[in-house]
Every structure is written in structure tokens, then in C-alpha cells.
Subunit: 207 residues, 2 copies
């Protein structure tokens, strides 16, 4: 039970280092606008010239990155999210004060834009890590977002809401099983490139 | 000795799944132009609507992604590279034919643009992984590109040439020590955001 790990300040702080890339000359205003529309008061957040880091309760981390992506996507431009989610990095404690927040989410991201994603799960120091990755694929299949494997990643297709729900569920499940967990994810919407023809549910399930 | 692993088709194939993001309305032509200027004949390469995957000898993989980034950067636009390098993924063999290529590099990337990078090393199923990450930081310090640690990543600053040389060296060294290795890297150039004030060598070394 993750909740037991949070008792008495024993932190199980999660985080995400990510960037939003609007492929547009207006990228600065699209990013600024998305940040302005997102309530980040329950997370620690710091932006530098390469990326942004958000830290806090797992639920709040996913709430914030989902909202920022969804608001940027609402610009209609081709927008990409690229990030690394992490929990249990040894010695990782700054920002612990945000763990005293509750799990009530502050954001209501706009209706989910059609999104393509590629994600990979990396449980560290875990001999059974390949089994955990297989479990994540099964979870994505049961949520209806899994649409195939590519080298080094699994693909998800669906609304931004469905994709982020899948990412959060597979991350949360794996984080219950291993101390240090990393997950990379790249999400793309409004791309001018055609999506690959999606396999039928049966074909996708067989992969 | 990695070379021994390559004898007789026993593959030690490396790969990189990456995307180039020119933050510009001209992103399509910048990407197409960079691809056109890069010789990719010694690697297996496949692009979908989310990312591109390159596979082959480690030297050729780094040669190709470096060249694509450098050519895109030469556009003068704010360009970002985001990618995951991988070697030793179990069951990972398609594209093995490219392992019969030699290590002679085919590209001469344009003079390196000033680049900021954040990278992270993930040795899988390796109890000593934190020590390997510390070794990578030491290697980056000795190459003069390390400029500090941030949550979940280490920062590099330098020319694109210096940054890619650092990434390749730390990846190659770690790949000699562990079977399955992953490294994420985000590189940014021509950003309108100011770089953080870089610490002196002494301060950076002390981190």
C-alpha cells in the first residue's frame, strides 16, 4: 500500500521532468498560456532553459502535466510532450512539503485531443523488470489505449485523457512493486504526419 | 571487450528512438532538410508519426543522430533533440544486418552550435547502477561538459560536438559494464530562454 509509505513524512515523492514543444513560431505564448491556465499550487515546480520539473504526490504530478499538455494542445498547433516520470530516486527528498497535500485534483483539462504516445517503463535494480513491462502492456490493453509495440517503446492511441490515465495507472502499479521507477513518455497531437493504420483490437491484443 | 561480442553475428546492436523538434512553423522543411543532408546508409531507420528509430553499431547510431541534430540546428531556429538510446534490450535483434558495417563515420556534422543538454543513464537489472551513474558524471566532468545536476538528470553544456561526444563516451563505457542499458537525452540549441549562470569549473566539480 503506497499510502502507508506516506505516513509521518516518509516520502514517496514522485516527479516528472518534461518539456512541451509546440511546433510553431508562437511556441513561447502557447507554453505561457498553458502554464497560466494550469493550477500548480499542489506541486513543487521549477523551469530552466531545457525542461520543467514538477514534484509532489503522484496524483498531483499527473494532474499538472496532463493539464499543461491539454491546454497547449487546445491551441490547435502540433504539440508534443516529452517527459520522464520518476519515483524513488535515492536521496530524493527536496520538495517533500508538497507530500502533505491531498489527492484532490485542481485541474479540469479541456476535452482530450486525439493523441499518439510512446512510453517505456524502466524499473531500476529489479531482476523481474521485463515482467513488469509486460504487465504494463497488459494494463494498457485492458484500458483500450495500447496499439502496438515499437523498438524501445509501447504505443498508445486515444484521447489525451485516456492516454494520461493509462500512463498514470501503469506507473502507479509498477511503483507499488519496485522502489525506484522511471517511465519515459512522448505524446503528440495535431501532427501533420498520418497515424499508422491502427490494428484491430484482436491484432493489437496478439502482439 | 565489446568487439568480441560482435563476432559471428552475436549482436550487440545499439539504437536510438528520438525526435527533432524545431520550434518553428517551418518544422517540416527543417526536419526534411536535416534528414536529406545526413547519410544514413549504415543504419536501420524507421520513422513514424511520433518518433524515429535508428539501429546499428553504436558509433553509427551516434553519428547519425548527431548529424541530424546539427543540420537542423544550422537552421538557426530553436531546435530540440529528445531521444532514448538503448542497447541490450532482450530479444532485440531486427536490423542485425547493419552490425556488419564498419565504424567509419559517414557524416561530418556542421560546426557545433552551443547546446544545453540534460541526460540520464538507466542501467537495467544492475544493483550497482547508482555507482555507474556517478561514473558517468565523473566522465562528463573530465570532458569539460558537465555543468551540474538537476532532479532526475545531469546537465551538459558545450558545442553539439562536445555534448554528443560526452553522451557517446558515457554510454559506451556503461554498455561495457551492463547488458541492458538505456540513456535519455534532451538537447536544446538557439533557445530564447537564458541559460542558467554556469558554475565555475571548481564549483561544478564539487557537485
Amino acid at each position: 500500500m503506497v499510502s502507508e509509505k506516506w505516513v509521518c513524512g516518509t516520502s514517496r515523492i514522485a516527479g516528472c521532468r518534461f518539456s512541451i514543444y509546440p511546433l510553431s513560431g508562437d511556441f513561447v505564448s502557447i507554453i505561457e498560456d498553458a502554464l497560466k491556465k494550469t493550477n500548480t499550487s499542489k506541486v513543487w515546480m521549477l523551469t530552466d532553459d531545457v525542461s520543467t520539473c514538477v514534484r509532489g504526490r503522484m496524483s498531483q504530478v499527473f494532474d499538472v502535466v496532463h493539464a499543461i499538455f491539454a491546454h497547449a494542445a487546445a491551441s490547435g498547433e502540433h504539440v508534443v510532450f516529452s517527459g520522464t516520470f520518476s519515483i524513488g530516486c535515492p536521496g530524493d527528498s527536496s520538495g517533500d512539503v508538497y507530500m502533505s497535500e491531498d489527492d484532490v485534483r485542481l485541474n479540469e483539462p479541456p476535452p482530450g485531443v486525439d493523441t499518439a504516445a510512446q512510453f517505456a517503463l524502466y524499473p531500476l535494480n529489479a531482476p523481474g523488470y521485463m515482467g513488469m513491462i509486460a504487465d504494463a502492456v497488459e494494463a494498457a490493453k485492458s484500458l483500450g489505449t495500447f496499439s502496438g509495440s515499437v523498438h524501445y517503446a509501447s504505443r498508445l492511441d486515444g484521447s489525451a485523457n485516456d492516454v494520461f490515465r493509462t500512463l498514470e495507472q501503469v506507473f502507479a502499479k509498477a511503483a507499488d512493486e519496485v522502489s525506484h521507477l522511471v517511465m519515459t513518455a512522448t505524446l503528440s497531437c495535431n501532427s501533420p504526419s498520418p497515424k499508422p493504420v491502427r490494428k484491430s483490437a484482436g491484432e493489437a491484443m496478439a502482439r
